[in-house]
Symmetry: C2
């Protein structure tokens, strides 16, 4: 038995948890930079709660609300420059995966005047600023991971950086912040979270500890599945989804992801498919391709989800993502070769070649 266990984040979960535990913020300094998207912070109510808490604690703050969907290096560099100039003491990321991941990059850039591409070196002269993470989706799990996924326009793909220093120091998880999400975003992000659990559970870096979180996450997704399919998503279900997404983050903090993410990134970059939805399209084929190598775990996933077979699982995912996509032969070649460069290839349960990636993509998508 051999494992490393590390979740550096202190998590507060529950309705009103930010206000109830705002004293946790007090020690981080005198000036905060809130990093968020154009609307998620406001619509969710999380931005108001956070600014109110900061005001009550007499902490100054500035708001950077220009984080894009799938934030680019240019985007985080812009925010990082302002954080440096404004000499903020800590960062509060509010939003879905994009603002949360961006906040991690900003925490580094605020105290390291480096080119944004140097983020991918994963080692910095100065320790990143403390990060507070407040998710407004139940998917990314970024609030409890040491990863930040950024879009590199120079290589036309998404890429992650990270080390233990960018674990958020504190995370506030309040399902009320996810109540304003449209159905499609709720489903896409829930699938992203499931994907984290499934990819972590089945990949070669899984450990006895990460499996505990994965099994719990998959089981909780199973409890929510009917509600997701029928769009009966009340507060109780939203809490379960937020809990599951956090668990998924705890899983991949230890295992990383797999080619589901590796093949999903080009689908997002080139075809604009939302990240979780891209994973959902690929997950069943990933499990089928690897089935013999992970039979016990794959069967356990189906049992936990209360789904009869991988084919049925594929149908359910298709129903949830509800997207038809056709790819050209050239696109398939490009996406497969992009996927083959993803570092998770080495963690795949069985050896996987570019030709296998082509097959997976052709099994999922229409080819024209």
């Amino acid at each position: 038995m051999q494992f490393k266990f590390r979740i550096a984040t202190k998590v507060f979960f529950g309705e009103g948890c930010l206000n109830k535990n705002k004293s946790e913020i007090a020690g981080f300094g005198k000036k905060c930079m809130i990093v968020t998207g154009r609307s998620s912070g406001k619509k969710s109510g999380a931005l108001d709660d956070m600014t109110k808490a900061l005001e009550e604690l007499s902490i100054d703050y500035i708001i950077y609300d220009k984080i894009e969907n799938n934030p680019s290096l240019e985007n985080v560099a812009d925010a990082g420059k302002i954080a440096r100039e404004e000499k903020v003491d800590f960062i509060a990321g509010i939003g879905g995966g994009s603002p949360l991941d961006a906040s991690k990059a900003v925490a580094v850039l605020a105290v390291n005047d480096i080119q944004p591409v140097e983020l991918f070196n994963n080692a910095f002269d100065n320790r990143p600023l403390p990060i507070i993470a407040i998710p407004t989706t139940a998917g990314t799990g970024s609030e409890v991971t040491p990863y930040s996924i950024l879009t590199r326009n120079d290589i036309k793909n998404k890429m992650s950086f990270g080390n233990d220093d960018i674990f958020p120091a504190v995370a506030f998880l309040d399902a009320r912040y996810t109540e304003s999400l449209p159905y499609s975003v709720t489903v896409d992000t829930a699938i992203d979270a499931l994907s984290h659990a499934v990819e972590g559970y089945t990949n070669k870096r899984s450990t006895i500890m990460s499996d505990i979180f994965a099994v719990e996450a998959i089981s909780v997704f199973g409890e929510c599945l009917d509600n997701l399919l029928t769009n009966k998503i009340d507060y109780r279900i939203r809490e379960k989804l937020l809990y599951m997404a956090m668990l998924g983050g705890m899983v991949i903090s230890h295992t990383g992801t797999t080619i589901v993410h590796g093949l999903g990134y080009p689908l997002t970059y080139y075809k604009g498919i939302p990240h979780g939805r891209a994973n959902g399209m690929l997950m069943a084929e990933y499990l089928k391709f690897n089935y013999e190598a992970i039979k016990d775990k794959a069967d356990n996933i189906l049992r936990l989800l209360r789904v009869g077979s991988l084919d049925e699982f594929g149908k359910i995912m298709k129903k949830l993502v509800n997207t038809e996509l056709s790819l050209s032969e050239d696109e398939i070649t490009l996406f497969a070769s992009t996927g083959a460069k993803h570092r998770s290839v080495a963690q795949n349960p069985r050896d996987i070649a570019v030709s296998d990636m082509v097959s997976i993509l052709k099994n999922v998508f229409k080819v024209w």
Copy 2:
């Protein structure tokens, strides 16, 4: 749903994990104080591994090897004074619960010149030194908790202090260090770990997250039960026990303990019963007393342990602890009133009075 989740410790688990990950120690400073008992560090091999690692890293160290079983305030004050005078940068606790808990007190006292009784204020002017924890028993779980249990001779009882700052920064869990333990210590400490899981799982502060760890720990204890009963404890079982003990620590980090610990402390203080054994004597009666309030969980504990009934569980514990103890009426009165002062009383699944504690003790022990 409402919970806090916090395990600040970075855990490395597995054979040779200290040597493989010694770079983790490098950042803590130039001088280390190793806090250990008279023999556990040496016999286990952990002390040699640690001093070798420190030498390879060119880190100075001093060794304080006078930690008592059930360390007193006087004992940790002595070590703390030396740590202050020697201006050490970090503390390495090596041993069972006694040295690990002592190392936490020393980490505080090294940078806070306070009376040892002030430890129980749980707030300190200066942040405790970083702690590295290397358990040589599989029981306490102290390597992943923010608690330190010390013996107060002034009130003739054990008492705990703690806050998030005394979570060990890093823990190295290598089951080889537990191989030299005699059978009785292996069993007593394993029961302590089970007790943490059972008490955390059933007490009022249990959360959805702490339950994940508790269920896994109880299940792993169940896998080891036959081996514990028949003294067939090979390396594979020792790894499971060490893993289970860590999980037990993660549980009580979130829940605290119960009156099993509250009533167990006077048995240790006055009668010299080893801590885990004291818990083992009391656990079945605790579950019986609370059964109606925790029926589902109690039944699940029996299912996970593959034990048919609470009576059978009591018999198994009795066989494991293998101790006959008679108490006088006066002792029972004293122990019950001591237990009633334990802060876990408020967390008991159902209301519990001193008279109930008397009944529990009388059900367990012969009275003369």
